[in-house]
Symmetry: C2
Subunit: 269 residues, 2 copies
């Protein structure tokens, strides 16, 4: 049986050159699909017409409007195809409106001098950390195994008297297990709960308006992770005048930095 993530990323070529897809109930969030699957399906569209060996380096997704349940179309426009680097611009449409835009940087990545300056935090292995129960919760939450080392969150009735740290560290994996690839890595960059909830304590109206993912591993390196949990480390720097940020890292089990990501989230309170 096909993994629900692959179903969510399925695209068909239309006669007008666009790709068509369908929102996934399995990854439904409160008022639209989980933004991670939107990021993944946009990235998939960017990769469909690329030659073998061309891999994603960076992805920016702008969430313009909530998607309604149903079909969507994706238009991919190559912006520039250089010798070593390619740029692609993407629009996701529903009806006559644009619901998301994205830009993707692609490249054939060759061996060079390499150095990882960042280090994975020391944490207990996934087996030593309890999974967060997701039964009966939103569908997309049930599609992930969350094992919080620090910074789990449950909504409070009243906000904290003083702002609390917005930091989370957690092991995370697809449910059911699925071998990691660039698509699921992009989606994992959006699984961190909105940081303003952690800082404030309560649930406030909020939504990601833009997310950027930088990929630091090639397909062979990502495949080496298999379906084992990856470590996510997420934090925020500032919340002010309707917007807060998020900065996060995704680490392999062996301490390799696979991706880094930032986003800006709208909130109201």
């Amino acid at each position: 049986m096909e993994h629900p993530f692959d179903t969510a990323c399925t695209l068909a070529r239309q006669s007008d050159g666009r790709f068509s897809g369908h929102t996934s109930d399995a990854y439904w969030n409160m008022a639209g699909p989980f933004g991670g699957t939107t990021a993944a399906v946009l990235l998939r569209a960017a990769l469909l017409d690329q030659a073998q060996g061309v891999e994603p380096v960076a992805l920016t997704v702008n969430y313009c409007a909530a998607l309604a349940k149903g079909p969507f179309a994706i238009e991919v426009r190559p912006a520039r195809s250089g010798k070593s680097v390619r740029h692609v611009s993407i629009e996701m449409q529903q009806g006559s409106g644009i619901v998301a835009t994205a830009s993707v940087v692609l490249a054939v990545r060759r061996d060079t001098w390499a150095h990882q300056e960042a280090r994975m935090p020391e944490v207990p292995p996934p087996d030593a950390v309890a999974s967060m129960p997701t039964d009966g919760r939103l569908p997309w939450l049930q599609r992930y195994d969350f094992r919080f080392v620090r910074g789990a969150w449950r909504p409070l009735a009243q906000p904290f008297a003083a702002p609390q740290p917005a930091h989370s560290t957690l092991w995370m994996a697809d449910v059911p297990p699925r071998p990691l690839d660039h698509l699921s890595l992009a989606a994992l960059c959006d699984v961190f709960i909105v940081r303003v909830f952690l800082a404030r304590g309560t649930m406030v109206p909020a939504g990601t308006v833009t997310m950027t993912v930088h990929f630091h591993a090639a397909a062979d390196e990502i495949a080496a992770q298999g379906s084992a949990p990856v470590l996510g480390v997420a934090d925020a720097q500032i919340f002010t005048r309707n917007f807060g940020d998020q900065v996060a890292q995704v680490w392999s089990s062996r301490g390799r930095l696979l991706a880094t990501t930032t986003q800006m989230t709208w909130f109201k309170e």
Copy 2:
């Protein structure tokens, strides 16, 4: 006399709806204009048709090809204009090619609950730090006052035996002085020297392929900074297979986080 930065950001409306501009010799880099001015002029194009009070929240610029000296055209396409958030897609063209693409998130930012979790590092004031001499160096370097607290860089003949920290902390300001605004703040996000140079010691072929800027201050808060130097803090997390990242913060003199930025830089060695 007009400030050279404002000259670099000057746009005229063409009859076909696009904007036309011209590269600036005053901000010339090695093989094209300084990427910060490209970011600024793209942001300016996004702001030109917006109502009073609509301000930038996020900007992603994809550097597709080196610009040649001369004119360029900018095409702005509104992607979505919601009640509180607007999305704009932008292309910069030279001849028949796309040289840069950008996406901008805009909003009217209202007062909300606010909290700055990040703290400015303790550093000596700008007056206590020597300016880096820029006489005779690249034009764009002469357009900034760089006062390095840590992490200044001069190319070595041979690479370091072991990778060195890619961290820099510096006071920075426009030359001649110019009151800070969103445009110059966007440009300042690109003044940090390519991180791979610091880690490796030598100059290697390198260029930014994508930069994202998150704005954490509204126009009134940015205006309060005047033309005093802002503090830049830049670092990298990983260099591998032709690409390295950069993460940076820009702080006001009073310790307010004005903007955060990330980029991916191509390098070869």
